[in-house]
C-alpha cells in the first residue's frame, strides 16, 4: 500500500539541487532536476555511504561528492563502470507539493547487475 506523506513545496528544493529528509530508516535525499522533476533516494552512496544529497545534480543524475560516482536518480543505479544501487523512495508532485511514499516497512529494489 502506498502512503504518501507531504514533505515540502517544490520551491523549497533548489533546481539542480537536493534537500535532506530525516526518517526512521535513515536520511532521504530529495532531488529536483532542471525540469522540476522530483526524485528521492536513500542518502547513502553505494560506494562508501557518501551523502548523495550533497552532490551535483545534472540531467537525471547525481554525482556523489566523495569520489564522483554517478547515480541515476530514477532507479538509484550507479553508472558503469561502477556497480551498485542506492535504494529509491517514491516521490511525486501534486499541486506544487512534494510527497514521499513512506510505507511503514518497504522492501527496496536491488539493482540487477
Amino acid at each position: 500500500m502506498e502512503t504518501w506523506v507531504k514533505i515540502c513545496r517544490v520551491a523549497d528544493i533548489p533546481r539542480l539541487g537536493a534537500r535532506v529528509v530525516k526518517s526512521a530508516r535513515g536520511d532521504i535525499a530529495v532531488f529536483r532536476t532542471a525540469n522540476d522533476e522530483i526524485f528521492a533516494l536513500m542518502d547513502r552512496c553505494p560506494h562508501k555511504a557518501g551523502p548523495l544529497s550533497q552532490g551535483i545534480v545534472h540531467g537525471k543524475r547525481v554525482t556523489c561528492p566523495l569520489h564522483n560516482w554517478v547515480l541515476e536518480l530514477a532507479d538509484g543505479n550507479a553508472l558503469a563502470p561502477d556497480v551498485g544501487c542506492a535504494p529509491t523512495v517514491g516521490a511525486k508532485i501534486d499541486e506544487e507539493d512534494v510527497y514521499l511514499d513512506m510505507p511503514a516497512a518497504r522492501t527496496t529494489p536491488v539493482a540487477a547487475e
Binding site: 523549497d12 535532506v20 557518501g50 551523502p51
Partner: protein, 817 residues
C-alpha cells in the same frame, strides 16, 4: 545569411576526397538537416582513404578495406552522389556548377576540395605508356597489374610517397631502383644522419638507390624501356613511377575567376574570395601555406563545417605537421625544424647497436623540431611539447630517454601507451588524445580496434598509431585502469577545449552557464559535475561583479563553505592571517568546540586550526560564534586563496632581514576571498633560510637584505615542484602589485583545476615574466583587474550565511518523517 533556392539551402561539394568528405561528415554531425547536399567526384567510387593506397600496393589491404563511405552511406544520409563526373565549369553569377556529362546543379554554398595533381617532370618520354603516378586507385591497379608480368621498376623521387611506392612494388616482386635528385632521402623530413640510416636499412631489404641522379629522358618507343640520366648512364625499366611532388589542383577555381596563388586562397574561416564558396584540402592555400598531409586538412574540415553551419566560432590558424613512414617496416618520425640554425642547439642520442637515432632541435628550452629513427615511441610526446611550446628545462637532461624516464610517473615498467598523459596525442591524423580513447573505451564498453575507430576515429586514417591504440584497449578494457583527469576537451559534454570555451565566453559576451552550453552545443543540457564548476568559474572570472554565482554548479565544499568529511560531517578552518593568532581567537575556537561538541581540533599543515566533525545543521551557528571573535572563513574548502604561511621574520628572529609576518598578513588581506582555477597558497620567509617553505608555494616571497625575491609555480602535494624565480623587487608595495598581477594572469589564463605549477610548465616561465615583470603597463592593468575583482569577493561568506535566514536553507533538514 543564407539565401535559399529551395526549401533547404543547397550545399555542393566538388571533389569526393578526404578533406571534402570529412567536411560533409562534420556538417552532418552538427546539423544533419540543414542542407540538401550534392557531391561530385571525378573518381568512380564512394569516398576512400587515400593514405591507405600504400598498404594496398603492399598487399596488406584491399580496396574494399579502405572505403570510408560507400555509395550506400551517401544514400542513407540523403546525399546525392555523382561518382565519376568531373565538374568542368563553375558559373558564379548564376550559382551553378556543370559536369563533363552535362549535369547542371545549382548551389547556395559551394565547397571546393579538388585535392592536388602529381607533378610530372617535363622530360622527353614522360608521356610514354608505363609511366605511372601514385595518387589514386587507378594508379595502384596499374602498378599491381604491371608487377604480375614485368621485372624492373624505377621510382623517381626519394620522398615519402616514392619510398612507399618502391616498397610496395618490391613486395609485389619487382626489382626496384629509387632515383633521387638529392643525396639525402626524404630531405624535407630527415637530416642527413637519419636519411643515411634509412637508406642503409632499405638497402638491407633489397632496394637499390641512384642518388644524387638527375633524370634526363625516359626511353622507349611506345612503352617505357629504360631511363637515361644527366651523366649519360642508363638503366632498364618496365615501369617508371613518378613521385616527385604534387601541385594543388586549382584549374577549376582559376577558370571560375576565384583568387588563387599556389593554391586557392582562403581566409581563417576557409572561405575563398567568393563568400558563397569555401575550400578545404590540398588545393587550398592558407596564410601562404599549402598542406599535403591529412591532419591539417581534417582540422580545416572541422573549421569549415563550423562556418557552413553558421556556428562561426572557430578559426583556422594553420597547422604544425609531423611525418611517419607507414609501410617500410622502419620506425621513423619527423616534425618541425629538424635541421636547426645558429640560434638553436641540437640534442642527439645514438645507439648504433640497436640502430637508433634521435635528435631534438632546441631553442630557449623549447622543442623546435625532432627526427627519430628506429625508436619513435616518444614522437607524439615531443610533438605535443613542440606544439604547446612546453619549457623543457626541468627534465632536459633525460628528455632523450623518453617519457618513461620522467621519474614521477611511477609506472616505468608498463608499456608506452600507459606512460602517456591523457592529453597526449595518439592519433596525429585525427587529433585524438589518449584520454579520448580511454574515455570512449570505458564509456561505450569497446572491445575491438574497429569499435575504437568508429567511436573515436583514432587509427582510422594512416594507421601508424594502431599499436598504441591496441595497447590502450588491452590496458583499459582488460584491467582496472582508471582514467586520470586532464583531458583535452573540457569534459565529455563538449569537444571544446578549456581555452576555446574561455575565448568564446569573452568574444560572445556569454553571461550564464545555460548561454554557454547552448551556444557551444553541449551534448548534455545541464552538463555534468566536471564542466559546471569550470564554467561557473570562467564566467565569474570573466564578468566580476556582474555574474551571479550558480550555487548548484559548485562542488559541495564551496557551496557549504566547509570541507565535507568521509562521514558526511564538515570541517571548519577559520582564517589566521599569516598564521598569527591571539588569546581571544583561541578562546573563541575552544568555546565553539565545547558548545557544539566538536570531536577533533587539529593544527593544520597551513598554520591554522581545523575543527573537524561539525554537523551541517550546526555550521551557521558555529560561524556566528567565530565571527563574534573576528574570525572569518579560511577558504580551506575552495579553489581559492588558502593560506599565507609566514615565519617570524625580522621582528623576532636573529637572522630575519625583513618583516615577513607583516608582509604575509598584507598579502593575505589583499588576496583572501579570490576564486581561482585551483587552490592557491602563498608564503613569506624572512631570510633565505626559508622557514616558511616559500619555494614550494604558488607564490613564494623570500626576504633578502636589499628587498624581496618573488618565486612562482611551486607545489607541494602529489608532484613536488620547486618554484622558479620570477624577479627581485625592493618594496612591500611592489610585492603586492606583482603578486596581484601574477594571480590575475593565472586566474585569466589557466584551465580550471590546473594549479600554477602545471600552468607555468605549460605556458613557460618566460611568458609569465614577460607579462608580469617586463611589461610594466600590462602588470598594472592586471593588478587593477585583480583589485577590481576583489572588490566583489571580500565579503565573508560565513558571516552572510550566519546572518541571513534565506541563505540558511542549504544547511537545514527539509523535514523529518
Amino acid at each position: 545569411m543564407l539565401m535559399k533556392t529551395g526549401s533547404k539551402p543547397k550545399l555542393v561539394l566538388i571533389g569526393n576526397g578526404m578533406a571534402g568528405m570529412r567536411t560533409i561528415e562534420e556538417v552532418l554531425k552538427i546539423d544533419a538537416n540543414m542542407y540538401d547536399i550534392t557531391v561530385f567526384g571525378a573518381e568512380p567510387y564512394g569516398n576512400y582513404n587515400r593514405i591507405m593506397l600504400s598498404p594496398v600496393l603492399a598487399g596488406d589491404k584491399t580496396v574494399d578495406d579502405i572505403m570510408i563511405n560507400d555509395t550506400q552511406w551517401y544514400a542513407d544520409n540523403g546525399i546525392t552522389l555523382h561518382a565519376g563526373k568531373t565538374i568542368t565549369r563553375v558559373d558564379r553569377a548564376k550559382c551553378v556548377v556543370e559536369a563533363d556529362d552535362g549535369t547542371v546543379e545549382p548551389y547556395d554554398r559551394l565547397l571546393l576540395a579538388t585535392g592536388s595533381d602529381p607533378f610530372i617532370i617535363p622530360v622527353p618520354g614522360a608521356d610514354l605508356d608505363g609511366v605511372i603516378t601514385f595518387r589514386d586507385i587507378h594508379d595502384v591497379n596499374r602498378m599491381m597489374e604491371a608487377a604480375k608480368t614485368k621485372k624492373h621498376a624505377v621510382v623517381i623521387g626519394g620522398g615519402l610517397l616514392g619510398l612507399e611506392a618502391a616498397k610496395g612494388l618490391m613486395i609485389q616482386g619487382m626489382d626496384v631502383t629509387v632515383v633521387h635528385l638529392m643525396d639525402c632521402l626524404m630531405e624535407r623530413q630527415l637530416d642527413p644522419m637519419a636519411g643515411g640510416m634509412l637508406r642503409r636499412s632499405l638497402e638491407d631489404q633489397g632496394m637499390k638507390f641512384l642518388m644524387p641522379a638527375s633524370t634526363q629522358e625516359i626511353l622507349g618507343e611506345d612503352h617505357v624501356t629504360g631511363v637515361r640520366f644527366a651523366d649519360g648512364s642508363e638503366i632498364p625499366a618496365d615501369i617508371v613511377v613518378m613521385a616527385v611532388g604534387i601541385r594543388p589542383n586549382i584549374k577549376l577555381a582559376q577558370s571560375a575567376g576565384i583568387h588563387c596563388e599556389r593554391g586557392v586562397v582562403v581566409n581563417d574561416t576557409m572561405q575563398t574570395f567568393d563568400p558563397r564558396i569555401y575550400a578545404v584540402g590540398e588545393c587550398v592555400q592558407h596564410r601562404k601555406q599549402t598542406y599535403g598531409l591529412v591532419a591539417p586538412l581534417f582540422e580545416q574540415a572541422r573549421i569549415c563545417a563550423n562556418h557552413l553551419t553558421e556556428r562561426c566560432v572557430l578559426r583556422y590558424l594553420g597547422s604544425v605537421t609531423s611525418t611517419k613512414l607507414k609501410v617500410t617496416g622502419i620506425d621513423l618520425f619527423s616534425a618541425g625544424d629538424f635541421i636547426g640554425s645558429d640560434a638553436t642547439e641540437d640534442m642527439t642520442f645514438r645507439d648504433p647497436a640497436r640502430n637508433i637515432y634521435k635528435k631534438l632541435v632546441i631553442e630557449e628550452n623549447r622543442i623546435k623540431g625532432a627526427v627519430m629513427f628506429g625508436d619513435t615511441v616518444d614522437g607524439a610526446w615531443y610533438f605535443q611539447m613542440m606544439r604547446d611550446g612546453t619549457d623543457i628545462s626541468a627534465f632536459r637532461d633525460t628528455i632523450l630517454f623518453g617519457k618513461a624516464h620522467l621519474g614521477d610517473s611511477g609506472r616505468g615498467d608498463q608499456n608506452q601507451a600507459m606512460a602517456m598523459a591523457d592529453g597526449d596525442e595518439v592519433c596525429g591524423c585525427n587529433g585524438v588524445c589518449k584520454g579520448d580513447i580511454v574515455a570512449a573505451i570505458t564509456k561505450n564498453k569497446l572491445y575491438t580496434l574497429d569499435d575504437v575507430r568508429t567511436h573515436t576515429k583514432a587509427s582510422s586514417s594512416c594507421g601508424s598509431c594502431t599499436g598504441l591504440v591496441e595497447q590502450l584497449l588491452a590496458a583499459t578494457a582488460g584491467g582496472d585502469y582508471s582514467a586520470t583527469p586532464k583531458e583535452k576537451p573540457l569534459c565529455k559534454c563538449t569537444d571544446r577545449t578549456h581555452e576555446e570555451v574561455r575565448r568564446v565566453i569573452l568574444e560572445q559576451s556569454l553571461k550564464t552557464i545555460p548561454e554557454v552550453m547552448s551556444f557551444l552545443e553541449w551534448s548534455n543540457p545541464d552538463g555534468c559535475a566536471s564542466c559546471r564548476p569550470a564554467l561557473n568559474y570562467y564566467l565569474l572570472c570573466a564578468w566580476p561583479g556582474e555574474y551571479i554565482d550558480d550555487q548548484q554548479s559548485r562542488f559541495i565544499n564551496e557551496r557549504a563553505h566547509a570541507n565535507i568529511q568521509k562521514d558526511g560531517t564538515y570541517s571548519v578552518v577559520p582564517r589566521m592571517w599569516g598564521g598569527v593568532t591571539n588569546p581571544k581567537e583561541l578562546r573563541a575556537i575552544a568555546d565553539v568546540a565545547d558548545k557544539f561538541d566538536i570531536p577533533t581540533v587539529k593544527v593544520t599543515g597551513g598554520q591554522r586550526i581545523d575543527l573537524l566533525g561539525v554537523k551541517k545543521d550546526d555550521l551557521p551557528a558555529v560561524w556566528a560564534d567565530l565571527n563574534a571573535a573576528g574570525l572569518v572563513s579560511g577558504h580551506a574548502y575552495g579553489k581559492a586563496l588558502r593560506t599565507v604561511k609566514t615565519c617570524v621574520g625580522s621582528e623576532w628572529c636573529r637572522f630575519g632581514v625583513q618583516d615577513s609576518t607583516r608582509m604575509g598578513v598584507d598579502l593575505e588581506k589583499m588576496c583572501w576571498g579570490t576564486w581561482t582555477p585551483h587552490k592557491v597558497k602563498l608564503a613569506v620567509s624572512g631570510c633565505p633560510r626559508n622557514c616558511a617553505e616559500a619555494t614550494i608555494k604558488d607564490f613564494g616571497v623570500v626576504a633578502v637584505d636589499s628587498g624581496w625575491e618573488l618565486h612562482v609555480g611551486g607545489n607541494g602535494g602529489m608532484k613536488v615542484r620547486k618554484t622558479d624565480l620570477l624577479c627581485k623587487v625592493k618594496t612591500p608595495e611592489e610585492v603586492l602589485e606583482y603578486c596581484g598581477a601574477y594571480l590575475q594572469l593565472y586566474r585569466e589564463e589557466a584551465y580550471y583545476l590546473e594549479r600554477t605549477a602545471p600552468w607555468i610548465e605549460r605556458v613557460g616561465l618566460e611568458s609569465v615574466k614577460q607579462r608580469v615583470v617586463e611589461d610594466a603597463e600590462g602588470r598594472k592593468a592586471l593588478y587593477e583587474r585583480f583589485l577590481y575583482s576583489q572588490s566583489f569577493s571580500q565579503d565573508d561568506p560565513w558571516a552572510a550565511r550566519a546572518r541571513q535566514a534565506e541563505l540558511q536553507s542549504e544547511f537545514r533538514t527539509l523535514a523529518a518523517v
